[in-house]
Assembly symmetry: C2
Homo-oligomer: 527 residues x 2
């Protein structure tokens, strides 16, 4: 039989750079098709800009511009008023995949992996062959640096084509300009919609946007204060795994297990540390790096058995119910808006928190027979794609919307009605189902929290709807009354032989009032 030998096969074995990997698998990063690619580029840029502004304590002001260059090519320019980037870091941040500051940090941010923006540069050079142009200035007293760069795909390293210092007039911040093959659409999945949804969830940001058709959008700031900056936390003992613990032990600064536990984990004080050591039968004075495999295993088990407080939640930056209400009211002229927010929860040691909002009626009435529009967010970033695999969608579909006054054919699935449902999940580590970050993995704990948040808001909606319903009923009833009652009363009056001065209005009003009070009482009871 013919065939190759081990020696022949060995010749083909080689290392694949992560840039080559993602170039070939670019659909994993959201570059599946030209329309989505255009959104992804804007999204990655906006994510980074908002993160940078917030971290620097600056109220974000973003300018996004998309020019149609014809032939399916678009030039995207994104300028922020953030802290800028020191020149030594500029090439790597934009020209190297898996390079960033947020991967190892345990606090909420939009970016996580250090892939997104360099992947956009990669996609640009793949489809149009054009380099990215990055300009940045850290403050009024410093120079403005500009790089023209590509990515050396084989090495996953930036390839600098031009480096220059600009004369003047560049407002501090960072600007990226890239040219990609794309497709501009105006519909639910569009850059316009993406930025609108971003504005709703980030009401302290001012976003100006010119689309390829030359239309200008000004999403103004609604709130003049940044939310409190999320604080970085240490890992929680319940979420750590043996391999990670083992690595931490090896690299530990502390020379005793007792101090190692207190220093490297959140919520472990001296008492818990001692308790863990005792339970694990590990000498608390032992050097961390010298623990044997069996001791490490026992230590991990003990860490997960001892009762330890939940992680602190100042690492999160939730969107409060109030902010959601304000955001929805600003963008949608609805008849009724409500919002709710849950307490923080934990999955696999990662804190997370869910809030949601519902807008109903008003300008939405025209969509009465359509499914409600769902806006999904993770860490303040709108999720436009892959809704079917998302924890938010699952929770929404499992909610019994009929109970709350919305139609839901078949008893499950997305409800119908003139409403918008907004759901936000924030976490130090959102479990996305793919690198393109479009959908949240369906951890039961997450699905449950989303469902509870939805039910809370939905109860407000029900109250509103039944009040409205009663209002309508009474109006109709009153109309019938006012049509027929005068006649009846007139006849009654005539029959009774009394004079005609008797007014019928106060009588009717009393009948209606009494019934309303009674119904409102019933409504409260069936919560």
């Amino acid at each position: 039989m013919p065939g190759r030998t081990a020696e022949e096969m060995a010749m083909d074995q080689k290392e694949i750079s992560v840039a080559e990997f993602f170039e070939k698998n670019r659909h994993l990063l959201g570059f599946d098709n030209p329309a989505k690619a255009l959104i992804t580029v804007v999204k990655e840029g906006v994510d980074n800009a908002l993160d940078a502004c917030e971290e620097a304590g600056k109220l974000p002001h973003l300018k996004v511009n998309i020019d149609d260059l014809g032939d399916n090519k678009y030039e995207i320019t994104l300028k922020d008023n953030g802290p800028g980037i020191v020149k030594e870091q500029m090439p790597s941040i934009f020209g190297k995949l898996l390079y960033g500051s947020k991967f190892h940090s345990r606090k909420q941010s939009r970016g996580q992996q250090g892939i997104g923006i360099s992947a956009s540069v990669l996609y640009a050079q793949l489809t149009t062959g054009r380099p990215a142009i990055i300009t940045s200035r850290t403050d009024e007293n410093s120079e403005t640096k500009r790089f023209k760069l590509k990515i050396d795909t084989i090495k996953n390293e930036p390839e600098i084509l031009k480096e220059e210092e600009l004369e003047d007039g560049f407002e501090p911040g960072t600007e990226i300009k890239i040219i990609v093959e794309g497709k501009y659409l105006q519909r639910y999945h569009s850059v316009d919609e993406y930025l609108k949804q971003t504005a709703i969830a980030n009401p302290y940001a001012h976003i100006e946007y010119s689309n390829p058709e030359g239309e200008y959008f000004n999403f103004e700031r609604v709130v003049d204060e940044l939310p409190p900056e999320p604080q970085e936390i240490k890992p929680h003992p319940y979420g750590v795994e043996l391999g990670v613990l083992s690595r931490m032990l090896k690299g530990a600064d502390s020379n005793k297990i007792l101090s190692f536990l207190q220093k490297e984990f959140t919520r472990i004080g001296r008492t818990s540390a001692e308790e863990i050591c005792t339970l694990a039968e590990v000498d608390p004075d032992k050097t961390p790096g010298k623990l044997k495999h069996a001791e490490q295993e026992r230590l991990l088990k003990a860490m997960q058995k001892v009762k330890i407080q939940r992680p602190p939640t100042d690492c999160l930056s939730p969107i409060s119910a109030q902010l959601i209400e304000d955001g929805l009211k600003k963008e949608i002229n609805a008849e009724f808006v409500t919002a709710s927010s849950r307490d923080p929860e934990v999955y696999r040691g990662n804190p997370f928190q869910v809030s949601c909002g519902i807008a109903y009626g008003g300008e939405l009435e025209q969509k009465e027979n359509e499914k409600v529009k769902v806006m999904r967010y993770a860490n303040k970033v709108p999720l436009l794609y892959q809704s079917s695999s998302c924890a938010i969608t699952k929770a929404l579909e499992k909610t019994d919307w009929k109970r709350y006054g919305l139609e839901q054919p078949g008893g499950n699935g997305t409800p119908k009605g003139p409403a918008v449902i907004f759901v936000h999940l924030c976490s130090t580590w959102v479990p996305f189902t793919s690198e393109s970050k479009e959908s949240i993995a369906r951890y039961p704990k997450i699905v449950k929290e989303v469902k509870l948040a939805l039910q809370e808001a939905a109860r407000d909606l029900r109250r509103h709807l039944s009040k409205k319903q009663r209002g309508k009923k009474e109006k109709r009833r009153k109309k019938i009354f006012s049509n027929y009652m005068p006649l009846v009363l007139e006849n009654a009056v005539e029959l009774s032989g009394e004079g005609k001065e008797l007014s019928i209005d106060p009588i009717m009003q009393r009948v209606i009032d009494e019934e309303l009070v009674e119904k409102a009482d019933q409504g409260d009871e069936d919560e």
Copy 2:
């Protein structure tokens, strides 16, 4: 306002190794939960073993063993009779992510990325802290090498704990032994099922398997010949992108564009190459590395305009209709089995081919009211998860199964009935929706081909079902005839005054036969 400066932020910027990335994002590789993790480890090992055996021209013989070590730990041992691995390559193949031989090759194989097996090693050390043990011997005349290794996650490099030479008795081939945290389940999503489905699609492989409950399965070889080995091809001009073309031009061996085009692409002969140069207004004698951006753009456009033959398909190793029938018959005792195979097609320059099979009735009858069981395959590997996002599922749900005799409530979705539907797609590059390779992206061209293949097989099913239906009807009709006809005939005979010797059986038989022939003719026409 407080906040950090660009200089402070720069301190946090750093490179993330691909091993760290996938350790944290291990759900992307199929390690979402313990039950799936166990399957993923077996799958990655089996994929590699089958690929290696086939490439070496050896009929595969695999031994898979899973031991329950208690405490949610399982030891997985997989031994193959493949070509073995030269010792210099052993550490990198198992201890480095994105290292492999198949990433750049354009021919069908199970593995693609050089991630799977090292990710299993990574998962083992993360969850149990235990190293992998790899043993390999290339042939009877060479030494047996054994490595005990982990992965240095920060560097994405193998960390060799022990290296030794074994004395004797190791049959040539490769063995991997790893211990992972897992969960063993016996149901649709299980290692048992995975290996059963693998055996069906790889009837030339012999797979022995002992599960954690100590049960032994022997999936014997049904075919004693390997399929023709797929041939490697060059990229097709229709599927190339500017960035890739640009890189190819830079690194070209040829010193003229004319020869570059013929040498580096499939299906470009001298005539097409000249035609492309003329259309692109590029000098055919120019050195490839010296083409300017605009020339590269024109060249690419011309390459995609000139009429060029489809790529050759000997790079594919489809499963023939005959093999599918044999495989289904071997594993399922059905009343009827059929299969179909389409001609190769091309998406984005990548050749692909679809075949499918249907088994109906027999032992499946007991599942009459359930949905049919669907077996999805890509490059001979069963896909157990994420069916809802898969091109195969989409095509299946869009097929009108009522037309073919299966129930399909609501007119779409997976049909009901006592059937198994088998679909195989092979390609030089299967567009999986995630690194875990569980689902095929829904390219319209792929969905269409799957649908056509299904319809072909479904027509056979319909023929079978209507024959069966007619059989039943006629039986019933004959019964009615035989109950009443004698009486009618007797009376008729009596009325006619003839003698009673007249036999009625031949008359009835003739009536039935004639009708059957007529119906069978109609059945053929409505194709």
